[in-house]
């Protein structure tokens, strides 16, 4: 499904990685490992097409992602470093906008259900803690089961044990349903055992 060949990335005049190749099939889990500053986030951003690699290319189902643009975007879910929630909106409004932007018409009940599953309080995001913001962002996972590829940058950061293990459960379910997941993490997680590792 996802295929990276000879990827090269340079940031701020420093080569982060070179000649990185891997392939990811349906139902596979890939963990991107490496110390801080080794280019994990850059790799994920290259994989979702936000960043152009210095060399090499990323292919999705055989076609280079540069040419696919929105057709590729529709098949992936990227949760980045920043939780991508607006401070002045409530988690419900945030989730609603996020779903509509990817062309999904989610019902109010489905949105509320997803937020309740992650125990996100119904307050403006400004009043939420880091962990609760992260939960508000992760609630999208529950509504994205039909999205083939999940790219998760530090999904467990700032989460408590219960929320982290629930996230792992969702990732496991997605894999079982034939989806693919690429993630980065510094915290050891139970799903690491299932994952192939790309070390930067």
């Amino acid at each position: 499904m996802l295929e990276a060949t000879e990827l090269e990335c340079e940031r701020g005049g420093r080569t982060l990685f070179r000649g990185l190749s891997f392939a990811l099939a349906a139902g596979e889990l890939l963990r991107v490992g490496g110390p801080n500053g080794s280019g994990k986030t850059s790799l994920l951003r290259i994989l979702c097409g936000l960043l152009t690699p210095g060399g090499g290319e990323v292919r999705w189902k055989g076609a280079p992602i540069r040419g696919l643009r929105e057709d590729y975007s529709r098949e992936l879910l990227y949760l980045g470093h920043a939780p991508a929630v607006k401070d002045d909106l409530t988690p419900l409004e945030n989730l609603d906008v996020a779903c509509r932007l990817v062309g999904m018409q989610a019902h109010q009940e489905a949105l509320t259900w997803a937020l309740n599953a992650f125990a996100v309080p119904d307050l403006p995001v400004r009043k939420l803690s880091q962990g609760q913001r992260r939960r508000a962002a992760l609630a999208r996972l529950l509504l994205s089961e039909s999205v083939a590829l999940w790219l998760l940058d530090e999904p467990f950061a700032a989460l408590d044990i219960a929320a982290a293990s629930y996230t792992e459960e969702l990732i496991g379910r997605h894999l079982a349903a034939g989806g693919s997941v690429v993630y980065t993490t510094h915290q050891p997680a139970a799903i690491d055992a299932l994952a192939r590792v790309v070390q930067l």
Partner: protein, 223 residues
């Protein structure tokens, strides 16, 4: 795929503006204050005031519209929602158009509505209010659309605000000349049809092409 995305983004940005009313009020107050300083500065000579009114009001509108440009993408860039928009189902040019439309509704339209009130201070003839508002109605969207290119290019730069004005102000010149010129034409008893048609043409051309330039600039800025 396109219309729902536009609706979502415009609604979201208007909701955000409603929750942060002070940001909107700042740009509008700036316009009112700048336009009110001139009569105080140049004195109460009615003929002089009448002569400078179109130019001053237009320059104030231009500066006020530029003041709010920095906010167009910066907040969404900082909290990561802009990345999500790039990865959305709608083409980026459509996203940009929707954001620009919302920006104009919040920062441009109030100027159009309040301008006749400002013109009172300059003892402008009542017959000119219409053409003043109409020229601003056609011109301020062009300012937002062209300004969006500059806002996207300077996104994430330190001291981007000053660079933004240097980039964008020269591009505003044709709009300023045509906008202020249309009011002066009517004041001189001539028809402003030519100026207004040209402003309308600029609006159409800018709305059709500039969002794609903005989209390209955004992709570069987000790398």
């Amino acid at each position: 795929m396109i219309f729902p995305a536009v609706k979502t983004i415009v609604r979201r940005d208007l909701l955000l503006a409603l929750r942060r009313r002070s940001d909107v009020a700042t740009a509008l107050l700036f316009f009112v204050i700048v336009a009110s300083l001139f009569p105080l500065g140049v004195g109460a000579e009615p003929n002089l005031l009448r002569a400078i009114a179109p130019g001053v009001i237009w320059v104030a509108a231009l500066l006020s519209s530029m003041l709010s440009l920095g906010r167009l993408f910066a907040a969404d860039h900082a909290d990561g929602t802009l990345e999500q928009m790039l990865l959305g189902a709608a083409p980026l040019g459509v996203v940009v158009s929707a954001k620009t439309l919302a920006h104009w509704l919040v920062s441009g339209l109030p100027l159009v509505l309040i301008a006749p009130l400002i013109a009172l201070q300059y003892d402008v003839e009542a017959g000119l209010y219409g053409v003043l508002a109409l020229s601003l109605l056609l011109g301020t969207p062009v300012l937002s659309i062209i300004g969006a290119i500059g806002a996207a290019l300077t996104l994430g730069l330190r001291g981007g605000g000053v660079l933004l004005s240097l980039l964008v102000l020269p591009l505003y010149v044709p709009v300023l000349i045509l906008g202020a010129g249309s009011v002066e034409m009517v004041a001189a008893g001539l028809s402003a049809e030519g100026q207004l048609l040209l402003l309308g043409a600029m609006l159409i051309v800018a709305a059709a092409f500039a969002p794609w330039a903005t989209a390209a600039a955004l992709r570069i800025s987000l790398e």
